[in-house]
Subunit: 360 residues, 2 copies
């Protein structure tokens, strides 16, 4: 069980999700005054030296962590990943774009693109309630597509692409729920976007990475705020200052953990422990196809809904938060993002075994 002396419990929220406790403590320590500014970080100009150096530090950390060369632009915008469902095709969809439809968010993304042009469904797992990632052999790829859009991790359904898709066109990825959780084949991508509120910081910032030669393909005459070029050229309008400030601390924390390879190893161990517990039991069963299982959101069912409700309530009483599954899948969902410590998963597994003994 968690150390409850601080009142902080183990948080399995799917998003906004847990942040490292060190980050939260550092934020607290910089209130009511940020360093020598005479004000909190919420009250200083985004044109001030102090804020500019926070954002520069966040960019530098991200470049180091991901190995992003200078031909990658890094943006911190407001508006959420959902805005990207529109902004990506608005900027780039000319004749045709390909979409892999593997869940709720992917379906929303293709629907927005279809309002603007020809958005082709390359493959879909909707036939089985999005419980799997379609194998590559079945994808109907168009080599003339301007991009291939996919959702790397499906928060609702607990599925995840094993690796970056192979395609002859640039990948555009909604990485909202597994950004920085593992290394990726960067050279396959043109654009990556992620809402901060899962692996990276508080809600309110969207991180966008765009490769320069992909950016160059965008259309002209776009609305200023929705033109990626507006934001790669300069800091155009007030950014979500506080959210970026927290993101910078999370990135520093991630570097302190040993970077992406190190966190990827921990994430694999966390997921393996949970899936092994599920598979070893006749009581719990996973909802995602084994070859498509997510290392970020582990979804499983109990024999009936009543037991599931008891599970969630008793877990909550035992200090394990936010385990209720999404309404479209039901059951239990344990979101084990970067900031969820191994100890939290150990505590959950221990609770699961105990619950099964008592109720199974």
């Amino acid at each position: 069980m968690p150390d409850t002396s601080s009142g902080r419990l183990y948080n399995f929220s799917a998003g906004p999700g847990a942040l490292p406790v060190e980050v939260i403590q550092a934020v607290r320590a910089e209130l009511p005054v940020y360093r020598k500014t005479g004000a909190s970080v919420m009250e200083i100009s985004h044109r001030s030296e102090e804020y500019i150096s926070i954002e520069a530090s966040a960019r530098a950390l991200l470049r180091r962590l991901m190995g992003l060369e200078e031909d990658w632009h890094i943006l911190f915008l407001g508006g959420g990943a959902s805005m990207q469902f529109h902004q990506v095709p608005l900027n780039f969809l000319t004749h045709s774009a390909d979409y892999l439809v593997t869940g709720t968010w992917a379906r929303k993304a293709i629907a927005e693109a279809a309002k603007l042009g020809h958005a082709r469904k390359v493959a879909s797992s909707e036939d089985a309630n999005f419980s799997y990632i379609p194998v590559r052999d079945t994808w109907d790829l168009n080599p003339d597509s301007v991009y291939l859009h996919f959702t790397s991790n499906n928060t609702v359904y607990g599925t995840q692409f094993r690796e970056s898709p192979k395609a002859s066109v640039p990948l555009v990825c909604d990485a909202s729920s597994d950004f920085l959780s593992r290394s990726i084949e960067l050279n396959r991508y043109g654009l990556i976007y992620a809402g901060a509120q899962k692996n990276l910081g508080p809600a309110g910032a969207t991180i966008i990475l765009i490769k320069d030669n992909f950016l160059a393909r965008r259309k002209s005459g776009l609305p200023t705020m929705l033109d990626y070029g507006t934001h790669t050229a300069k800091c155009f309008n007030t950014p979500p200052v506080f959210a970026v400030y927290v993101v910078e601390k999370v990135l520093r924390w991630l570097e302190d953990q040993g970077g992406i390879r190190a966190i990827e190893a921990v994430n694999s161990r966390k997921a393996a422990l949970l899936y092994n517990t599920i598979d070893a039991s006749g009581f719990y069963h996973g909802t995602a196809a084994p070859d498509s299982r997510s290392r970020m959101n582990v979804t499983f069912r109990l024999p009936n809904a009543e037991l599931e409700n008891q599970f969630v309530d008793e877990a909550r009483d035992g200090g394990l938060l936010a385990l209720k599954g999404h309404r479209s899948v039901g059951g239990i969902r344990a979101s084990i993002y970067n900031a969820c410590p191994f100890a939290a998963v150990l505590a959950l597994v221990s609770f699961m075994k105990d619950f099964e003994r008592r109720r199974g």
Copy 2:
């Protein structure tokens, strides 16, 4: 001079601007754990009871403070006021819309509208570096316009509309820098938007008020995230949770101050004290036409740029922050939003008199 025991100084930043110290302290007190949630407010779901009740409280406070009946929708979106320059005409601009061009932001607003349709310039003060608000007699209003857009306060130039414009069509107002600083003629408006980071909270949330009968006039087939109807219907995507949480506290603080009438009286006294000091001096001179002066951003010049730089630096050393004017006007700008206490203005006036004695 401010009480510097806490390290907090008097903050005249144009935005992100000062927040009430009570709000910052309350935020600090709720870290690392928000009430009984076991996590900070940054780490809880936007579908949780706790967040839903924060947002509901913010709405209820805003309704009471402004006297908003149920036919007004209240939205808290990400993306910034600059996104509204596009979103407003995207939703509403059919045959023609009218724009009053009184500053940098107004010019950006009409430029975005012109990308989408016929945006008429009703009046402009660009001929005199936006130092005044054109008098109503000179406005070339179109009675068939779908709306009349104006910027109620011009942060950069220190000008402000004395009252809500009279027009036969609904007003659309960018109220980013004077929202909730004074009472307005609500029945003239169709839509009001404001970035939070001046009078209302941290950067990262945009408040949008839309009257139901105005909303009903919007176009169909809009991109989902940019359709106001998406957000009036339900909480569609993750809101900027932390920013809304702070906004709720600022609104509560404002109610504790006695509401809008009470803060309006304080704001008038603060502005009068500053403008009287400027006018009584042969050393300082205001840049805005006297009948157009802003009660939020007081802009003035000294005899030369060298003195202005000394003024800013010495003020900073004396605990008076962020007094440098915007580069397009130069000189000094004192932003005295709701959260800037009367004592801060007293301290500034005292410094101004002392500086004039020494350097005048």
